[in-house]
Symmetry: C2
Subunit: 339 residues, 2 copies
């Protein structure tokens, strides 16, 4: 029985774990600036929640209301195709356990949890550089836009995938043109994952969605079980997903901040390799050392052990954070602040 | 592939779904009093949470702090044996998917999700009346104390179970003597489930724990994946689980309210069959009609389609709620208010 079975592979390292970097650089100036994730630094304001949101089991009505808001937000006409989960990570964990042992092609390297979870569930996994190389697989996984490169596969190419199951992780697709998403016109073999926390800057509440053909959506719902998402997440999700004005303002502000960050990185001698509206991927021969140099100055960015010339940076939250990043990069203020 | 596979069995009906009963009795007096669950009606006060609890991914430190508080609360010396999940329901969903196809004996009838989840995952499930009848099964599931009967199996009898895996769902064991739990001295074949939301009256936040041998605990942790529990749940859980004064006061208040409710039920001609500190199971030949009669008066209690002479009632939250229940039961005030 698995209670005495073999140990699983080592977990993946992630951005956002400030504790580890704090221990590595105990004398770094405070407060730490965490640019190691792709989470919107401008959080949707959390309203005061009625007591029963905390005290009662989340109701079916609350879940339906959140799903309705998600359907409007993602342009989905059939609410039966949407499933709420406590973060898309929960769906990434779940999907491999629902499928019979399969040949799985993951277009990558990409967000490492996909590979880890499919392997852990005993599937035969190949990480392939593009969709062409994925042909013949039973299951194809594409992160679109990709994390960390930002590569965006055209919906047309995704619609041509002939696998029995195509999983498109659209965690970073918000703030891109809506046509980039498959969610609104879902192919019959496709499951789309949408992240709430990254876009709305509320990664702590754990909320994400799967968009799937109705029968598969029902299966996901059954496997997640009742009350899978917390009452606060459903309520805040409902409010935020229907708030188009906030989203529009956030999009403008993020675009301006992105331009500042890009200018800063270029002035610091980086080559911009790509990214999404919520993070940038940049290259410099000494990027590995640079991650440590920033760490000593209380700035946490994401390096990659396998690709030490690359660094991923989320967007600074404020002028103060831009100032500290610019100082750490030794870039004069005028280069970025006139943007 | 399962994307076109057979449909799963129908989901189980649960207490707590006020929406359905509201639609059935649209003219019932407001506000509804929900006694259909076994959730503490006296919620632990939710503190104002720092912004980063909502905005950031839950940190490893936050999870460790919650696990530490849970270890102290449940009398567990080795924190490596505790796993945090978004509610014990998430663990009930997960466990059957981790085990090879097995003969599973569930001591019951009991909380129906256990049977549903083991069956859905393809196991051979028998619901047996007691531990003796469970002998020979690979996996044994016991809800202890039982929901809804309150039957409490002695730890000694549980320790004698020779199955490869014994799952003891201790969702309602708080407020009973600590010796009733297996968590503090865990047998090598046992996984204990502990619920946070019921005891602390915060079912909306989704927090529960598994206590398991270290290797199995690690497997559960891997399968739940990173950030399985929300930041708010970890933070509120940490505060509440370390607050022994609150728990003691709650225990006293609940004991007094239980005595009132029992007096009320007996005066209304019910036989008390059992229960736990958070709910009572009572019997009357016309209990089924009684559930409807209460519904018309805006009181939601839990009936059982298979056992229409039985009704389960959670504890009223206030004198006002006791008054309305007493009026609906046509029990004079003096019977219960002097308690």
């Amino acid at each position: 029985m698995p209670i005495t079975g073999p140990a699983a592979p080592e977990p993946v390292a992630h951005g956002g774990d400030l504790g580890t970097i704090r221990r590595r650089f105990p004398t770094a100036p405070q407060p730490w600036i965490d640019l190691s994730t792709g989470i919107n630094p401008l959080a949707y304001p959390v309203a005061h929640l009625p007591t029963e949101i905390w005290s009662r089991l989340p109701t079916r009505e609350a879940e339906q209301a959140s799903l309705g808001a998600a359907a409007r937000r993602y342009g989905i006409s059939d609410p039966a195709t949407i499933v709420a989960a406590p973060g898309t990570q929960a769906l990434i964990q779940l999907l491999p356990r629902l499928m019979p042992t399969s040949r799985v092609a993951i277009v990558g390297p990409t967000y490492a949890e996909h590979e880890l979870c499919w392997r852990r569930a005993g599937h035969e996994v190949a990480v392939v550089p593009d969709l062409v190389e994925a042909s013949g697989a039973d299951i194809v996984v594409v992160v679109n836009p990709d994390n960390p490169t930002g590569r965006l596969v055209a919906p047309r190419a995704l619609r041509a995938v002939e696998a029995a199951l195509l999983i498109v992780d659209e965690a970073f697709i918000d703030f891109l043109p809506p046509e980039a998403s498959l969610a609104g016109d879902l192919p019959a073999n496709t499951v789309v994952l949408r992240s709430f926390g990254k876009t709305y800057g509320l990664a702590g509440i754990r909320l994400g969605f799967a968009v799937a053909p109705p029968r598969f959506a029902r299966r996901l719902r059954d496997e997640l079980g009742p009350w899978a998402v917390s009452g606060p997440a459903l309520e805040i999700g409902r409010l935020a997903l229907d708030d188009t004005a906030w989203l529009q303002t956030a999009a403008q502000r993020l675009a301006a901040d992105r331009a500042k960050l890009d200018a800063l990185l270029i002035a610091a001698g980086f080559t911009l390799l790509g990214g999404t509206p919520l993070f940038r991927l940049a290259e410099r021969p000494d990027a590995g050392r640079f991650v440590d140099a920033l760490g000593q100055q209380g700035l946490h960015v994401r390096g990659f052990a396998e690709q030490p010339t690359r660094v991923r940076l989320g967007l600074p939250a404020s002028d103060e954070e831009f100032h500290r990043l610019a100082a750490a990069l030794q870039v004069p203020q005028k280069v970025w602040q006139t943007r």
